[in-house]
């Protein structure tokens, strides 16, 4: 394409690839969520389902700072995290269908995605419930002297739960390698942050535990990535946990049952104007790192990936009802 020009330097090519990779992931999440909404309407997916539109830069940006050995703990709004962590769209979609080919064998559904290969520990649908788990995973790593971290995502609504406080304190007290990522999208279901916290600056909470904290524009992928890299390296240095607050917004309703009475349409529109994907595309184009053709191709690859995922899910098998009570206890006795 650059025929006739001097060849692009290697570091630029790398940067471009990396950016394309991140853009691909954000777009994949966005399209994936769109498809999920559709499938929900056609009753292929059931239960509670929480979509991630608008928040893609958070999961994608933060994941860049993790290695394959790190652990991830997420919430019920975790399709994006699962995709960004590298779990295949096929096995996620199959999970949403409740098929045994799903990443949780169909037993978990939308809110309970799990994967051992990428150390993805859920998919926790109790608000705040994943934080102590993350502390424990980090404790195991520290005690076993493994150079890993645990990245724990949670919403700003979780900050009001006692488990947030207890977990922050434990992690700080024991200097554990946890990267706490607060996805502050301003609402917990219909409750605005100002109605749930007497102090709405989440990073101020961290001070009470002597935890280094930084707030970052969660709609700006590069900013998130940079902040996450900095935070993760600090965690890796052994100086204890770090908190990253990503200020973001969900474009869609809380779940599929939400009439959205609690926020103004204009507010939603204003935030949509700050779409992390659109602005990243703009940025890449400005930098000459993305062409319309490339974008188009990307969208086509994504469409195929999602079609494949749906086909995979459709073709999946139902767990036999005879196995209903399997996985209540482990099949094997000891290890």
């Amino acid at each position: 394409m650059n025929a006739g020009q001097t060849p692009e330097p290697i570091h630029m090519a790398r940067e471009r690839d990396h950016n394309h990779h991140m853009l691909y992931q954000m777009l994949l999440i966005r399209r994936f969520e769109g498809k999920c909404a559709e499938l929900y309407s056609s009753m292929k997916i059931r239960g509670f389902m929480h979509l991630y539109d608008g928040e893609e830069a958070v999961a994608v940006g933060v994941m860049q700072s993790l290695t394959a050995d790190d652990a991830v703990v997420a919430t019920y709004r975790e399709h994006g995290h699962a995709l960004a962590r590298g779990i295949s769209a096929c096995s996620i979609m199959a999970e949403m269908y409740g098929k045994r080919e799903g990443c949780s064998r169909g037993r978990g559904g939308s809110m309970h995605l799990f994967d051992d290969k990428t150390r993805f520990f859920g998919g926790n649908a109790i608000v705040g419930g994943g934080l102590p788990i993350a502390v424990g995973l980090a404790l195991a790593d520290k005690v076993q002297k493994r150079p890993r971290l645990t990245c724990c995502f949670f919403g700003e609504g979780a900050v009001a739960e006692g488990e947030f406080h207890e977990s922050m304190n434990l992690a700080a007290l024991w200097q554990l390698p946890v990267l706490f990522v607060c996805e502050n999208n301003l609402y917990a279901m219909g409750t605005a942050l100002a109605l749930s916290e007497s102090v709405t600056d989440i990073t101020a909470k961290a001070a009470g535990y002597n935890i280094e904290a930084e707030a970052v524009d969660g709609m700006d992928l590069s900013a998130v990535e940079k902040a996450a890299n900095k935070a993760a390296s600090r965690v890796r240095s052994g100086k204890g946990p770090v908190m990253l607050e990503c200020r973001t917004y969900r474009f869609r309703a809380h779940s599929m049952f939400d009439p959205e009475l609690y926020r103004a349409k204009s507010e939603v529109e204003a935030w949509k104007g700050r779409c992390p994907i659109a602005s990243f595309i703009r940025l890449l184009k400005e930098k000459g790192m993305l062409t319309d053709t490339e974008l188009h191709e990307m969208e086509e690859r994504i469409a195929i990936e999602i079609d494949d995922a749906v086909a995979f899910a459709e073709a999946g098998m139902w767990e036999p009802v005879e196995e209903l009570t399997r996985f209540v206890y482990s099949d094997r006795r000891t290890e």
């Binding site: 059931r46 409740g98 978990g108 109790i126």
Partner: protein, 333 residues
């Protein structure tokens, strides 16, 4: 049937809402508190519209702090209020289990009778909506183990409408479990429907061959099974427990003295559930009346799986009730 003017069509959800509305109008001390009960309109839309009528002081949105807002409800009750505290889903109530058992249930006793706690705690319960392993359990029977609290499980519109006010008038803590599959159920209610007794079980259908003992969403499955069985000349008496603690055993023991057989239908986990307590009370109170051992049809002992076919298999179903009763009645007539 209800063509007479003085009934009104509504859902179970609306019946609960009307009960709350009436209580709030009747008694200044009553207020509703919980996550998203106000601006959002309630996680299951039960309290929709109440914020507009009563304002944010009395329809009080709380942060995600189950332990503190349940505890605050207890404190407010001690301070002379009549709080209705809503917990979205029974599984989240575990975050407040300490306040419920160690405070609400014990305050009266450990203060030697000085301080009673007139709180009502409502929550949704049950499976059937594919909400999986952290949102689908039926822990009402589990809570019924705790002395010092009362446990109500309204199944019908009348009870959804009528048990709340009586619960609020009760001087002691009352937990109300609303099965989430019932919210959309429609029916006719008398315009002047009002408070109902919370102490007694009710016979919802009379019969002579077997007693089906149940409550909540399983009531309707039991009634459906009874209907079908009646075509085979098997007449099942169906008892709606309504309240799991204190458990009104007189009603089912009396029924068994007539039918000599009993099947318990409970979507909670089997081991150590309310079904076990009912069976034990029958053992103790009607052993010599029994023509056959009491059977239990319960929820499978599994954290609820997500897919529909597994969830259905995990819950009591009409067919199982029918086949169980048929076998029981046929095998020793």
């Amino acid at each position: 049937m209800n063509s007479i003017k003085n009934t009104v069509k509504m859902t179970y959800r609306e019946a609960v809402r009307e009960a709350i509305r009436e209580a709030m109008r009747k008694d200044e001390r009553v207020f509703l508190m919980g996550e998203d009960v106000g601006r959002y309109g309630g996680c299951f839309a039960v309290s929709k519209g109440l914020l507009e009528e009563f304002g944010p002081e009395r329809i009080r949105d709380t942060p995600l702090s189950e332990s503190a807002f349940v505890g605050a409800g207890i404190g407010a009750a001690l301070g002379g209020m009549r709080p209705i505290v809503e917990i979205m889903t029974v599984n989240f109530s575990l975050l407040a289990a300490d306040q419920i058992l160690n405070n609400a249930a014990t305050y009266l006793h450990m203060s030697g009778g000085l301080f009673n706690v007139p709180i009502v705690i409502r929550m949704s319960t049950g499976g059937g909506k594919q909400l999986a392993a952290q949102h689908s359990h039926s822990l009402e029977g589990w809570y019924a183990h705790i002395p010092g609290i009362k446990v109500l499980t309204p199944a019908t519109l009348e009870d959804a409408r009528g048990m709340l006010w009586t619960a609020l008038e009760d001087p002691d803590p009352v937990l109300i479990f609303e099965n989430n599959t019932l919210y959309n159920m429609e029916g006719e209610l008398p315009v002047d429907a009002g408070a109902l007794d919370i102490d007694h079980a009710l016979i919802r259908r009379t019969g002579t061959h077997v007693t089906l003992i149940t409550y909540g969403a399983s009531l309707f499955k039991s009634l459906e099974a009874a209907e079908q069985l009646s075509k085979e000349e098997i007449q099942a008496e169906v008892i709606d427990l309504r309240t799991l603690r204190p458990l009104d055993h007189d009603t089912f023991l009396k029924s068994i003295s007539k039918t000599h057989r009993a099947v318990i239908v409970d979507e909670g986990w089997r081991s150590g559930g309310i079904s076990a307590e009912i069976s034990a009370r029958i053992m103790e109170g009607a052993f010599y009346d029994l023509d056959a051992p009491v059977e239990r049809i319960c929820g499978a002992e599994v954290p609820m799986p997500y897919p529909r076919h597994l969830e259905e298999k995990a819950l009591p179903q009409v067919e199982t009730i029918i086949s169980t009763v048929r076998r029981m009645v046929k095998s020793n007539g």
